[in-house]
Amino acid sequence: LARVFARRLLIATLLTLVAFVAVPAAAYGDPTPPPESFSFYMSTVNQSDLYNLGLTFGEDVASGTYPQLTLVVLDWGSPYCTGSGSGSCGTYIFTSSGTYEGTASERAAAEQFGEGFWVGTGGDTSAHTYLAMGTNNYGSWVGNSTNAYNHGQAWSNMVNDGNTWLSSNGYSSQVSMRGGTDSELDWNGPTPTNDWAKGYESTWRAYFWDYGDAAGCPPFGGCDNGWNQRDVWLQSYGYAPAEPLPEIYNEGQAEEWGNLANYAYEVQSSLMSFLGPMSQHQACADLSSPCTGEDNTPDESWTDLYNALNCSTCDDAQTPPHVTNIRWKLSENMGA
């Protein structure tokens, strides 16, 4: 009995050493970027196109081309409402011909994507995609605070309605809808942009992801266009529905967000949880644009953000779980 006890004592000691030494070493080892998902600049509300896109995507997920859990942004362009209040809103989508689409058309197209995804995954019922309905803060119309608030509220209502549709049709176990905004500091000032978020917050039941920037913010000086770090923090995390999925097209942008995470902790007592970065590598390729200095691959985007959040003086060390690569082409190069 004494020999058995001694042997087990030795093994237990070794196990404890492994737990305290080897496991932390693994936890702090070289980070590995997660597999990429994709996002789209939207130039159509054609329901059949979106259904087929979702179908192909679902099939690709089921075959292992994409991860089981994916974050997808459908960027519908710049906000606009045709009337007063939030009852008749939509966006100028990314056609080259000034096309406006209302939220009803955009929601229906996204629902088709969700249905297509559901069908495409087949027996892979554990796959799940989070589908964000994205807009932005570009344009003079949304530079008005009342307009911005009304559009944010309309956008939130659209997302809520989308989730209700997904649920009532039996797709919600694999598809969830979210809001989204490409809030870029140089496009509009903090007041109307934050007011969009307040409008969204007024009726929210699903998060919105801020996939914008923190242009000019520390450590590179003061934030651009009258913004400060508090404004950016509010837009990306401070408001209840807001979650950060920042564009990280180069290392400098990652440093701005890493610095913002420190600000959030030290000044706002807020630990920001980053969903991950967005890269535009595929969008640049689709437009034959060199995007010089702004062309991070998804892996580079993720690694830059990871490094910026896990520096020796960082307050909010974390490992972002996702990365998404925005693109233009809806039908080609799927399964990249």
């Binding site: 196990l15 404890t16 737990a19 932390p24 229906a108 989070y130 039941r205 699903a206 437009l287």
Partner: protein
């Protein structure tokens, strides 16, 4: 032993330093306990210990049923898990259109040949900071022209011309963009007007330019 990895509220400095290590250290502690229990198996009966592990992540009012992949600590309602979801749908459905109410009132579409500050640019403000845009169609191509400045240099005015097949709203994405900086750094450009395919632009410095979209050059 209850493991609570919640990040729902900001923690103190010392908690912060240990936050990342806490799960690892706790796991190590459990290994030690389990090892002890296993070790205890070598002892005479009657000294065994019982360990209950509940590793579910708790967060205020959240319950495991409300967790989602992007759950935000403190705000589980954002997961929008329906209270009474419909049963899963069949997987063999084919496409059928969802009815969309017809829009009423005048179309807000931006007509061809119009200068607009709402036309969304197909690039980030970090690439080119757009002031406004203009679009037109010719020879089976849509031309979107944006005026502004380089993303990293507000003093350098630029015109960006994007072209793609005029396919309406089919979203081919088969386009390309080219940038045309002004010869001198006179500030961001704004399109003041358009006459046929010639745009009149003004820089923030007051300098004026003409840009011929057809030849893609400054006059």
């Amino acid at each position: 032993v209850i493991l609570n990895f919640s990040r729902g509220r900001p923690d103190t400095g010392s908690q912060r330093r240990s936050r990342v290590r806490a799960p690892v250290a706790t796991a190590a502690f459990c290994v030690a306990l389990l090892g002890g229990a296993w070790l205890g198996g070598a002892l005479p009966q009657g000294n065994s210990s019982r360990i209950t592990v509940n590793a579910a992540r708790t967060n205020g009012a959240a319950t495991p049923s409300t967790l989602c992949a992007d759950e935000k600590p403190g705000y589980p309602q954002g997961c929008d898990i329906p209270a009474d979801p419909a049963p899963p749908a069949a997987k063999d459905q084919s496409f059928s259109a969802i009815p969309v109410p017809a829009t009423t009132g005048p179309s807000p579409d931006i007509p061809a040949g119009t200068v607009s500050s709402e036309l969304p640019p197909p690039f980030s403000s970090s690439d080119y900071l757009t002031v406004n845009g203009w679009w037109n169609q010719a020879n089976g191509l849509d031309y979107d022209v944006f005026a502004g400045s380089l993303g990293g240099d507000a003093s350098q005015g630029v015109v960006v011309v994007c072209k793609e097949p005029a396919l309406g709203t089919t979203g081919s994405g088969d386009g390309s963009c080219a940038a045309f900086p002004t010869s001198r750094p006179t500030g961001a450009l704004q399109i003041e007007g358009a006459s046929a395919w010639t745009l009149t632009l003004q820089a923030t410095s007051g300098a004026t330019y003409s840009f011929d979209v057809a030849t893609e050059s400054y006059a």
